[in-house]
Amino acid sequence: MSELQADQGAQALDVPQPHAKTRRNRDVLIALAAFVVLALLPMVFSSKFLLDFVIRCAAYGLFATSLNLLVGYTGLTSFGHGMFFGLGAYGFGLMMQKTGVSVPVAFVATLAITFVTALVIGAICVRLKEIYFAFVTLAFQMLIHSTILSWVSLTGGDQGLRGGIPRPPFWGIDLSNHLHLYVTSCALLVIGLFLMHQIAQSPFGYTLRMIRDNATRASFIGIDVWRAKLTIFVLAALFASTGGVIMALFVSGAYPEFAYWTISGEGIFINMLGGVTTFLGPMVGTVLLLILNDTVTRLTEYHGLVLGIVILFFAIGLRKGLMDFVIEWYAQRRDARGK
């Protein structure tokens, strides 16, 4: 582990580019291009399956990438990140079912709820290191999961939020229209990834990498490590929560499984598949996992076996995620050419 981290550090601590502004402009262009491509997809392929697939990618992608801000960038291996995914789904679903506010209001309110919850849980958790941090986050996740299960009058217990999530049209967007839902999910995904990338590339993002590599040193330089960790914990929670909102819209409900530890496990799995040293690793991992899941469950009910073998291949065979592997391979190739 330490060797691996040292490697990451060496790569990630490349000197940031001096022209932050041009860089940001480039990111904006890339984000816009990505959004346009995604939004045009339904015109090229008329398959509803593709739309469903991209919507789920948006939900899991935001969740997994936000987890990578903790795991890959800050070295905080959270086993309880799924609680914010569930919180997003339940917060949004309940808000729409019980209060009858408009979609944007419910969305912002959900983020506000997540913010407060993450602040409280984070304040307790980020003081801890490594395995202790992992387990306390897991404990909080189970606390939230149990609360959802037992607060039947509000959450519907283990049956979940039933009766569908109402979605009155707003700003000309009607989320009960599948195409509108698709474009909205793509927009949330692209905006989310853009913002997370800005966070990762900002001075704050580099502070996080420093904390990951040597927290003691960071605090000696005068960085408030606790505050930095808490900030990223809360930010990551907000993006995970957005993923949960998309999922709630997709299934038109919220279920306790969304806040169960298996969702956190899937997040970690996605990060292992895609790789934690690149920003887009988790996104690639998401696409991989969902393709694997969808094709394998079509073919056999022994999907657990297949997925297990795949994860063994990545963990023992490649010893890194796919994106890490590709980047290294590309760098090697470039070096070889240079010579």
């Binding site: 392929f45 008329s46 398959s47 509803k48 399956f49 593709l50 469903d52 789920r56 299960l149 039947v152 217990g157 283990d158 049956q159 979940g160 039933r162 009766g163 569908g164 009960s176 599948h178 999922m247 997709f250 299934v251 038109s252 409900g253 279920y255 306790p256 499984e257 969304f258 969808d294 469950t297 079509r298 009910e301 022994y302 999907h303 657990g304 391979w329 190739r333």
Partner: protein
């Protein structure tokens, strides 16, 4: 390691891969054009703790589909089942259901999901408007709550509230006859366990007002060790015990309680006992446990029912489960409704299903009815009896009275604000 081949993906290979990707996404729509057969999609649980029940659902469906196809299919179209695993996760159930309809071109859904998964598929049915038959969810609100109601969704499963009414009145009669006043309950700690136990106790007290509950235990779902629960109940010294533990939980509980001779010290009412998955697995099945019928080939005691159970056993080398008859009923109703509507169109079948009464081996009087007002199954065989340690396991089943069920169900609906 040395590389034997030049690294890198050629432009041609990249194009080929992109092309392949595009084809993968586009092909299902080609397949849909040729619709001579009718595809029926079925998300169910084929892996994990309840895989056995999902498999038994699939078995029963295939058994019936073969018969329907041999008789000409649905309005001349052969049924092709597309059955997929949802792993018991609601988001997967929703995804699989959408995929079955949107990509595989299924025109009807048999939703063989439990609890939350059924509600997830229900939302898919609401969204896509496809004909959907819930076959496994026994949660009463799925059809009783008008907010859930959609014209294209039906249920062919038993219902929690029916079970409670019959169970409560049966237990009350015995409580009065034997003077059982002090009761304990022991049920799994989740919605099904809590709700079912609550309703059962309500009806028990209604019919036998001097019953009192002196001890409640709520073991976790899939709990391996029941020692503390068993000792707690023994210490409370109740005269009778109610439990809605099921499957592996129930069998572990009985095996462990047997060590403490619990069954000789009180009358035990275990609603989920009389299912072959439990009856055949318990090491020493105690005599005299009261149980509701789940699926048992001796009740209804008709040749049709026995023949159905034997045919299933002959084909799959095990007895059917509660989920089996519920799924078989869905196919029987579909076939009959399609015949009546003379069409395989979902909307027309739905129209024909409302109020449809068919002959059934699982009917209390040889028939079952799809009640029109809430689109759920009524008139199925429901009753209670006591166990013996060997086949036929539950020799005598006392039938529940559907007239009473209807009256009390209407009252229950009113109390919940459903009507």
């Amino acid at each position: 390691m040395t590389r034997t081949r030049k690294p890198g993906v050629s432009r041609r290979a990249t194009l080929a891969m992109m092309g392949a990707g595009a084809v993968t996404f586009a092909t299902p729509w080609v397949a849909r054009a040729q619709a001579k057969t009718i595809k029926v999609g079925m998300p169910t649980i084929l892996s994990g703790r309840v895989a056995q029940l999902g498999t038994s659902s699939r078995n029963a469906v295939m058994l019936e589909v073969e018969k329907v196809n041999a008789a000409g299919g649905l309005a001349g179209r052969q049924i092709e089942m597309v059955i997929r695993d949802s792993k018991g996760q609601p988001q997967e159930a929703a995804r699989v259901a959408r995929e079955l309809v949107n990509t595989d071109g299924c025109e009807i859904l048999i939703d063989a999901e439990a609890s939350s998964g059924a509600f997830a598929v229900h939302e898919v049915a609401r969204d896509l408007g496809v004909l959907c038959i819930h076959t496994n969810s026994e949660t009463s609100s799925l059809t009783a709550d008008p907010k859930q109601h959609i014209p294209n969704a039906f249920r062919t499963a038993r219902q929690g509230v029916h079970d409670s009414i019959v169970g409560g009145s049966y237990a009350a009669a015995i409580a009065k006859a034997k003077g059982l006043k002090k009761w304990a309950t022991c049920s799994p700690d989740y919605a099904y366990g809590r709700d079912t136990t609550g309703e059962y106790v309500t009806y028990l007290k209604r019919f036998a007002p001097d019953v009192e509950i002196i001890s409640e235990s709520w073991p976790k779902l899939f709990q391996p060790d029941y020692t503390e629960v068993v000792t707690k109940i023994l210490q409370a010294k109740p005269q009778a015990l109610y439990s809605c533990l099921w499957g592996g939980d129930l069998t572990s509980y009985i095996d462990q309680a047997n060590i403490y001779a619990l069954f000789s010290q009180m009358e035990v009412f275990a609603v989920n006992m009389a299912d072959y998955t439990a009856l055949t697995v318990v090491k020493n099945l105690p005599k005299g446990i009261h149980s509701g019928n789940r699926y048992i080939k001796t009740y209804p005691a008709t040749p049709e029912n026995a023949a159905w159970g034997d045919a299933y056993k002959a084909k799959y080398n095990e007895y059917p489960t509660n989920w089996s008859w519920e799924n078989a009923t869905a196919i029987m109703l579909l076939a009959e409704a399609s015949k009546k509507a003379n069409s395989a169109d979902g909307k027309k079948i739905a129209e024909a299903l409302r109020g449809l009464k068919i002959k059934s081996p699982f009917g209390a009087d040889g028939t079952v009815t799809m009640r029109a007002e809430d689109q759920t199954l009524v008139g199925y065989a429901i009753g209670w009896g006591t166990t013996i340690p060997q086949e036929p396991y539950v020799p005598q089943v006392q039938a529940g009275d559907w007239k009473t069920i209807f009256e009390l169900e209407a009252e229950w609906k009113k109390s919940k604000g459903y009507t």
